[in-house]
Symmetry: C2
Subunit: 473 residues, 2 copies
C-alpha cells in the first residue's frame, strides 16, 4: 500500500532520474512504432495495477521516449527547462484549478493577469489585456476570429460569408495561420501568401498590392498576420512598414511572435520587434524560448474589450459571481482552462526581469557563436546570418534531411531540417541556454562527420554500419 | 543553492501538504481580488529570487486559492483526483513532450492512440479514431469544423457562407456549442436551440421540424449536437430518436458527452448513451468524471480519416518522417500539444476497466443516495430524480444562489446553482467517489441550515454574523 505522501515523494525521485537520464543518454534509441505496445507493456488492463508499479511504468515509458531537453537536443522551438517553472507546473497539476472564474481559481486569476499585463507592457500594449491559450495555433485562431468580428460587425451573431474574407501572412508564416483561416470559415485559400524578400521577410509592398487588389475585388481583408520569428529561419517581418500598410487599409494587424516574442525581454534584442506596439494583437509562446513547460501561449491585445466582445458567452451555471473582469473564462475560446499561468509566474519570480533578459542574450550569443563556427568551418556552410535564434547550415555533398536522420539513428544529435529558397538545410534551434561551448562544438562536429560519411555513399550503408535499426525513416 | 533533486523532492513534499490542507481546510477563505497582489506578494520582480523561496510562494499561493478537491467540494463537473493520474501528469510536465510527431514523442504517440482506441470502442466506434483536445469546447469546435467540411466540400479550401449554415443543440446544451458556431463563422444565431422536454432532453420532433424548415429555407444543416449529460441537470438527450432524425436528414450527429461520456465505463450506466454508436463524433472529457487532472478531452470519430482530411496541414519543417498515422499533429487543431494522454493511460493502468466501472457505479450510487436524503428531508426538496451525476435541490424559503454564496462565505461547502425551468436550484455535482456518507449528510445539513437562516432575513445579516468578509458576491 502506497500512501499519498510516498507516491508524491516517488514522483520527485523519478523526475530527478528523468533529468539525469537526459544528461547521460540525451538521444535515446528510437522504437519502431509497431513494437512499442508489446515491448513496453502498454495494453490497458481489465484489472488495475498497484500505484507504485504504474508509476514505475510511467517513468520507464518517459525514458523510452525521445528526450526533449539535454545537451543534444536542437530539434524544436522549445528545449531545456527552467526547473522552477516545471516544479510550479507539477504543483498546478495537483491543485487542478480551472482558470475560468474567480470563484474557482481565486488568486490564480490575478496571477494570470499579472504575467499577461507584464507581457503586454513589454509589447507596448500599456492599456492592453490578454489570455493564455493552449498553444500558438489557438492564439492565432482567436486573433482571426476577433479580427473577423471587428471587420464585419454582424459576423458574431449572424455569421459571415467566409469566402469573401481574406487574411494575409508571409509565405514563410506558420501553418497555423492557414489553419485558422480554414477553421474560421474563410477556407485555406482565404489565407493569402505574401511573398518574402531574400531574407524570408514579408514584402510590405506586395502586401499593399494584395490588399488593394482584394478590396477592389469586393473582398474584405480581415487580418494581416506578420511573423516575428519564422519557424525555419527565425526571420522577423518588417513591422513598421507592415503597420503602415495596415493603417492605410484599415486592417487588423496581428503579430505571430510565438517564437520571437521572447526577444522583447532584452534591450539588446527587442529592436527585432520594433513597431509591435502598433499591432492590434500578438501571439507570444512562453513555452518556446522562455523555458516553461508546454503549453503557455499568451494572446495579447492592444486594447481592452475585444476578447470578451468577440469570445464571451453568458453561462448562468458558470459565471455566477464577481465582475466579468475577474472571470477570465469570458475572454477565452475554452471553457475549462488548465492553469498555465502559474509556471510562467514562477519563472518570472525565479529569474526576474534581469534573468529573463540574460537568458535571451545568452541564447542570442550562442546562435552567433554557432554561426561563427559554421562560417569558419572548412566544409559546412552557414546558409545565412541568423536573424535571431535559429541557425541554418548547408551540408555540401549530403542531403541535410539525411544528415539529421543519420544523427538521430546513431543517437548523436536531435536536430531538424528546413527549406530556404528551395534548398534543404539543417536548422538548429537555439532555445536552451544550458547548451555550452562544448555542446555547440559537438553539434558542428557531428553534423560534419555525418555529412562526410553520407557524401561517400547511400545513407542505408551508414545506418547499417552504425548498427542501429533506426525506426526513423 | 538548491539542487535539482532537492527541488523536485520539495515538489513531492509540497504536493503532499496541499493534499492534506484540502482535508483540514476544504473551503478556504476567499480573498478580495483587489487585495491579492499585495497581500500575497505577487508582483513580478526585477531581480530573481532563489528557487526554494519561489517554490514556497507557489505552494502558499495554491493554498490561498480555492480547494478544487476534498470533502466539501461539489461545485464543478470535476473534483477529487486519482493520484496516480496526477503523478503521471506531474511527470509529463517534466518530460515535456509535444504530441505532434512520432519523432518528438515516440511511444507516447502510441499511448495516446491506445486510450483513444479504448474510448472509441466503448462508444461503439470500433473502426474509429480520435484526438485529445485541451477541453470539451475545443473538441466541440473541431466537430463543427469537420462536419462543416463534410457537409460543404468546398469549405475547407474555398471557405463557406456561414450565414447559410446551421447547427442544432438543445436549449440546455453547453455554451461551447454556440461558441463553436460563432468561431466557425456561422454566427451565434447559427446555433439553433431545440426545445427540451420536461426532463431537459432535446425533443427529436422539434429537431426534425427545425431541420425540415431550414432545408426548405435553403439553409444547410451542418451538425446536430446532442448532449449526453447536461451541465445542470445531467440529462441525456434521446440518442436513438435523434440519430433517426439525423439519418433521415443526412446530417452529422455529434454527441457532446463531455460530462456523460464516463457513463460508458460501466454496464450499469452505459444505457444512458444507447445509440451513441450511431453518432459521427463524440466529445468525452476524461478530466471531468474520471478524475484525471485538467485538461483531457477526447474527440472520438466513428470513421477514420475525417480528422486529417479536415484539420490536416502539411508543414515541411515539422512532419518530416514516419507515416502520417504516427504524427497526431496532422489530426489536431493545435500544433504543439501537451501530453494529456499519459495521465489517462496511467489512470487506466491503475484502475483497470473494472476500477473505472466501479468508480462510475460508486458515483451513481452516491447521487441516488443524496437524492434519497433530499426526498426524505423535512424541508429541502429534490427538484427531480437525478438522471446521472448531478442532484438538483430546491431550497424552499430561500434563494438557492444565496444559499450557495452563504455556504462559500462561511467556508462550509463549495456548491453551485442552476436553473430548471426558470427556477433556481442548488446543483450538486457528484464526481468524487471519495465523498462518503458523512460528506453527503454534512452537505444536506449545511444546505438546510443556510436555507433556514436565509429564510429568516437578508443574507447580509448572516454573512456578517458569521464574521467573514465573504468576498464572493
Amino acid at each position: 500500500m502506497t500512501t499519498d505522501a510516498e507516491l508524491l515523494a516517488a514522483v520527485g525521485r523519478l523526475a530527478a532520474r528523468l533529468l539525469r537520464s537526459e544528461g547521460s543518454e540525451p538521444v535515446r534509441a528510437a522504437w519502431p512504432a509497431t513494437e512499442v505496445e508489446s515491448a513496453l507493456g502498454l495494453a490497458l488492463p481489465a484489472q488495475g495495477r498497484p500505484a507504485g508499479e504504474v508509476l514505475a511504468s510511467v517513468a520507464a515509458l518517459l525514458e523510452a521516449a525521445p528526450a526533449m531537453a539535454g545537451p543534444r537536443f536542437w530539434n524544436q522551438l522549445f528545449g531545456g527547462r527552467d526547473l522552477v517553472a516545471t516544479a510550479a507546473d507539477m504543483l498546478a497539476s495537483v491543485a487542478n484549478h480551472s482558470l475560468y472564474t474567480y470563484r474557482a481559481a481565486g488568486p490564480l486569476v490575478v496571477v494570470e493577469q499579472l504575467v499577461l499585463a507584464r507581457m503586454a507592457a513589454l509589447a507596448g500594449f500599456d492599456a492592453g489585456e490578454g489570455t493564455i491559450c493552449p498553444g500558438g495555433s489557438v492564439s492565432n485562431l482567436c486573433a482571426v476570429v476577433i479580427a473577423r468580428g471587428e471587420a464585419i460587425a454582424a459576423s458574431r451573431e449572424e455569421g459571415v460569408d467566409g469566402r469573401a474574407c481574406r487574411i494575409y501572412a508571409s509565405a514563410e508564416a506558420h501553418y497555423s495561420v492557414r489553419k485558422a483561416a480554414m477553421t474560421a470559415g474563410l477556407g485555406r485559400n482565404g489565407c493569402r501568401d505574401i511573398p518574402c524578400d531574400a531574407q524570408g521577410r514579408m514584402d510590405p509592398t506586395a502586401l499593399d498590392a494584395a490588399l488593394t487588389e482584394d478590396r477592389a475585388a469586393g473582398l474584405t481583408p480581415v487580418l494581416v498576420a506578420a511573423t516575428a520569428g519564422t519557424t525555419v529561419r527565425g526571420a522577423f517581418d518588417p513591422l513598421p512598414a507592415i503597420a503602415d500598410v495596415c493603417a492605410r487599409h484599415g486592417v487588423w494587424l496581428h503579430v505571430d511572435a510565438a517564437f520571437g516574442g521572447a526577444m522583447l525581454l532584452s534591450a539588446q534584442t527587442r529592436g527585432l520587434l520594433a513597431g509591435v506596439e502598433r499591432a492590434d494583437s500578438l501571439t507570444w509562446d512562453a513555452h518556446k524560448v522562455m523555458g516553461v513547460p508546454l503549453l503557455c501561449s499568451a494572446l495579447l491585445m492592444r486594447r481592452r474589450g475585444h476578447l470578451a466582445a468577440q469570445l464571451g458567452e453568458t453561462a448562468d451555471y458558470l459565471f455566477q459571481c464577481d465582475d466579468a473582469e475577474l472571470n477570465p473564462g469570458t475572454r477565452a475560446l475554452q471553457c475549462g482552462r488548465r492553469d498555465d499561468a502559474l509556471k510562467l509566474w514562477a519563472l518570472w519570480q525565479h529569474q526576474g526581469d534581469a534573468g529573463l533578459a540574460a537568458r535571451v542574450e545568452t541564447l542570442r550569443a550562442q546562435a552567433l557563436r554557432l554561426s561563427d563556427l559554421a562560417s569558419a568551418h572548412p566544409r559546412l556552410q552557414l546558409a545565412e546570418a541568423p536573424p535571431s535564434l535559429t541557425v541554418c547550415l548547408r551540408t555540401p555533398g549530403a542531403d541535410a534531411a539525411a544528415v539529421c536522420d543519420l544523427l538521430a539513428a546513431e543517437r548523436r544529435q536531435l536536430v531538424g531540417h528546413g527549406l530556404i529558397g528551395g534548398e534543404r538545410i539543417v536548422r538548429v534551434a537555439i532555445v536552451d541556454p544550458s547548451h555550452d561551448e562544448a555542446a555547440l562544438h559537438a553539434l558542428i562536429n557531428d553534423i560534419d562527420d555525418a555529412t562526410q560519411r553520407l557524401a561517400l555513399g547511400p545513407p542505408q550503408t551508414w545506418a547499417r554500419l552504425a548498427g542501429h535499426s533506426g525506426g526513423l525513416s
